[in-house]
Symmetry: D2
């Protein structure tokens, strides 16, 4: 049995790996060692760990490493503590392969602990390009990783250009698309979001139509995060006809700026058409998106899952810059006016056609298959 | 005044940056903030910090972050502690640019702390290729760094292929060559190594000729480090005619294997033609090399400075694999016989011609000039 | 100039040291080095640091060391990180004496870093007895400290019984009483709490009378912290005539249980006579208390300042067990009924007479005087 | 089964707990969880872990937390890292009781992690008095511990005076005496120290008589540690008739001063009657002591085991100040002359009579019995 240790550090990473976890668990030659760390454990950021447990996964270790403090030094120190903690975890678990997901700053702790301990490292979703701090982290992890399980042709080409061995790069598609595939056929909202997920604020009627909002702070510009979220809040406030479901951001230097902005708006204004959620299980969220008019914000869900589902997206600011996107995406600046215009346009235009840029819905199984067959190695050299 | 914070973590890094430190210090628009960390502070590894002070540099912060333990987990944890400590140091110093040198595992702590804190990061000596864990670290740092001060055309091409902006890559040559240039004209050993540096063991007459040995453990194979050093020790033991000056290895997972191997040999065998040093100032060491028959081991000094000086080198094992080299280098395996044969060959062949692969002796000034003129930025995106 | 480094780690510690900070600052032979750390820096716990700045104190270092996670392991790790960080701070500052305040778990980090580095350590408010985890911390710090600046005769006797040299124990009274003395003469609420401090919830008229509530989680029973706060919330909800000003708890393992309990109650029930504050400057808070009917909760303010001011106190649960108290305190269990009865009783009884158990209002100056005159030493031995 | 987690952090602590480990292991109602940490894992300090394994104990976790650096800041940081690591270990092991041994600085990490996590804490060998930094640590741990397993009546009285509940204090004697009891009957050296333990230096004939030396650096005076060891080295060098067996010191801020002092002497002088050992199994060491003329240095072995065995001791300096001692001990200052005089006196005087101050040889079993029967609790309050 090959032991595969997957480290999940944040809510969004979970939906990007969930079907792969299942496939690893069910694979006859693989044993899953699931580690949950950082903001994935914290209530302020949606307690992703509860969804992971509810989905039936066994967690072998929890790693608390988030150092509080609304600043960039705390992000660095969180990573340092992550290395201290994860290296102990890896020493206990003795995995054959460690898997790190995507590009959040604290995934670097997983990558360094594994590679410094000579444990083969697999990286999910390398090779993409977004134009922010995440990009430094993402490509840096590519250079530490021994296997690259990428989500698109575009990403595959980029990892190869970075000098990785072609035999170590696998375009599996993104596991988040596997989840999108599951909800695609439902054709209706098959749960009551208010009852199931609580949250705060008004509870407008969703039977006709509604917007979904999800806006994360952008690390490099964290002092502006409050101003950024306020331009969106203002656009949402000005239109009161269509209900809005707003999702709280996940942890980051600056997330408190975003959170504070939202809280202040709620105290100050009547937002009787807006409801706020902290978190939602991946499948419910995709079902919700699939049935919505469109998504507003800067989440990569807009670029990936919404492409597959054909959901219109108003993509705000630089966070998803240069990520390969389908025709469902309209890019706008941090501007109340641009957001409002895009909302009007989407309400009048026909729904975009779906696209399979980020996979065809079988990424989880492909990833498990790769992890089961690759030669175990932790030594590599650049190809050029 | 632009504040340039240079972090030195190990003895060998110091000679690779020394002339740049001087040039930064003397530059009218730059202020040097010198931080000494990790094994550069420790007596077991030669207390590089004493040489740094003796050269007249002012140290603004010392960072103790080496976690003891002859294993790879300790290397990971040392890096984690390094991030915790260096992020505090950077917060105090508020540098405009942080400089990290080369590719040892703990340089990653400097790179992560700086890049996560949005401080522009310059990397000295990226783009080279060696085929061991150092290579993962080196290229990974390239992807975190905002400026690349490389030492050869070969390295420059590789950094560009890694997707860095051409305007951020500068081939300055290696500052260690600047030091080699200084000693080149001496034509004799201008100091008494036994008197000046102590050390232990015999004190054979050096007036005729002598070998220099410097062999580091190879991280990926650390359990073999004792066996490796013993093949070299045996070759040295078997030939008793030519004096040998042996230099203790610097810290690494496995260095204790190497150290133990050397100590055990000294207790067991008569090595009356061998003297052991812990450390030596860069200029004296280069003078010593320049006057020697040749260098035996796996130090990168053999690839770089010895190329410039035209000193023959017996390069053992995989540590310098694929690093661009001149005609002065003979590659051998961990084999007493191969080492012995190479020694015989060098003693009969003519001395190789010098080569300027790694610079022409003005790297320090070039580096300072780049740091003074580059636009300050910490945001980048891959070029392809 | 003797350098006195005071480390403040939480909001309540600040009011327990504020007049001493001022007296140190103004003392001709002392230099104040003020370090702010842990929850004193965090918005979730009232950002004490802002009040410290507003009072005109210069902060020489901020130490972020709170590891997020609603559990006791996080408290231990927060202390470990605190030691790592504070030892660097002390190395930079080279203080002559380090001062640690009271007994919160993270004050141990200050005590260990200072005593292990052979820096003379002064402890403010040792020797008291409360019967919870704080007591382990408090007496343990007494055994690490070189000088003891205690707040009452009772505490003085206890420190002496613990085997400390009589020449190292000083009964200065508590600096928080100095602040109480300042507000004592006002005879009215001289600020508008809603305007000055914001907060959330109703804004009932305070001109007639009002209760103040401040209830902290009790570490040893943290899983019960939500249930505990709910018995108080229920008592408050049931009486709707008298306005209530409720103060958010400070950080602790379990504070999220308390916070969640409060938030849930606010969503579920009509609390139109209750206002919630996050924080308040010490003088305003004391003015508010002095003008209130009484204080409900488990804060030590009820035991100390309220004794001096003669404010009635309903002290809930075990948190202040065995702390020396005046006749102003009524002790009750976690019981809605008991709290309600006590509230009725206070409303009908005459106001208690003030008592000077914890000082006469000159503690700050006495502390500065002691720190200026004590012999510097870090070596001690138990007296028996 | 009650799970008892014992944390051993240094070589000397092992012999102070060994028979208790065995008794816990063999107890029908106890399960031993043995954790080895800090210098007990390191080769430089004798790799106590190897002896522990050789004695057949199963180690459930190894904790590397020694931060290198010959200074007091490193001691503080080592403790901080210890808390970070041990809290993870305790979370994994979920022990019913944690046991910390004696008073070295890093035992505080065990005490804080356990007590902050609400795990009942037992302290072995509290209540003693020595007059150095160890004493701060020792009494401070007493105030964190829930059970006190002390080694003498004197210590028992002191712990009670410190305000601990009489029901939580148990005078079991010291387990090191159990080991002394085992070797007492041998009446000869039943092993060859050179063959069995290697070491370096001369191998003088031990059949007639010999001295044993063991001198640790004294933390509070660490800059003097080299000078201190040199006065002893000089006394040893001057007398050349009687062979000397010298034991390397264990880790401490300053140990490198001691080590360097010894190394320098060995290089400089002819010490052909002196042999140096790094480490020795407890039973062999006691056998060696029992057959020697006497012990020179500042080890507590001189105070405890040598009292029981009736071995003369020259106790140098302040390290054992005020520890209860028998008539076998002669106290001297750091003075070559005083040491020489004491050596002469011992060689002419009759051997002292044994004394059972520190137990009668059944401490291990008594400790296991206490741990099996005490009520589990982590809540306490001072008795006065």
């Amino acid at each position: 049995m090959r032991k595969i240790c997957v480290v999940i550090t944040a809510r969004p990473s979970y939906s990007r790996i969930k079907t792969a976890l299942k496939a690893i668990q069910e694979h006859p030659n693989l044993e899953l060692q699931l580690v949950v760390a950082a903001s994935a454990l914290l209530e302020r950021y949606g307690t992703a760990v509860n969804y992971i447990k509810a989905d039936g996964f066994h967690i072998v270790a929890k790693v608390f490493n988030v150092l509080e403090g609304e600043n960039l030094t705390a992000a660095a120190k969180t990573t340092g503590i992550g290395i201290l903690e994860l290296s102990s975890v890896f020493e206990n678990l003795q995995p054959d392969i460690v898997v790190t997901v995507a590009d959040r700053f604290e995934t670097m702790a997983t990558a360094i602990a594994a590679s410094y301990m000579n444990i083969p490292l697999a990286h999910i979703q390398g090779g993409e390009v977004t134009g922010n701090i995440d990009e430094k982290v993402r490509h840096s992890i590519t250079k530490l990783a021994d296997y690259h399980l990428v989500a698109s042709q575009d990403a595959e080409q980029r990892v190869l250009k970075l000098g990785e061995e072609p035999t170590s790069v696998f375009n599996t598609g993104c596991p988040s698309i596997d989840l999108a595939k599951e909800v695609q056929g439902l054709n209706q909202l098959n749960f009551n979001p208010y009852e199931k997920y609580g949250g705060v604020g008004a509870q407008p009627d969703l039977s006709n139509c509604y917007w979904v909002v999800m806006q994360h702070p952008v690390t490099n510009e964290y002092q502006n995060s409050r101003k950024h979220v306020e331009t969106t809040l203002e656009a949402i406030r000005q239109q009161t006809e269509v209900p809005v479901l707003w999702f709280w951001p996940n942890v980051d230097a600056g997330s408190d700026g975003t959170s504070t902005g939202i809280r202040a708006y709620r105290e100050k204004y009547d937002l009787s058409h807006v409801h706020f959620f902290k978190n939602m299980q991946g499948n419910d969220f995709l079902n919700l998106l699939d049935q919505s008019i469109g998504l507003i914000g800067n989440s990569s869900v807009g670029i990936r899952e919404c492409a597959y589902l054909g959901v219109p997206v108003i993509n705000i600011g630089s966070r998803q810059n240069r990520r390969q996107r389908g025709k469902n995406v309209m890019d706008v600046n941090y501007s109340t006016q641009e957001i409002t215009q895009a909302m009007n346009q989407i309400q009048t235009n026909p729904r975009p056609t779906p696209a399979t840029i980020y996979g065809e819905g079988d990424a989880g199984e492909k990833i498990a298959a790769v992890l089961a067959k690759v030669e175990l190695k932790f030594h590599k050299t650049i190809v050029y």
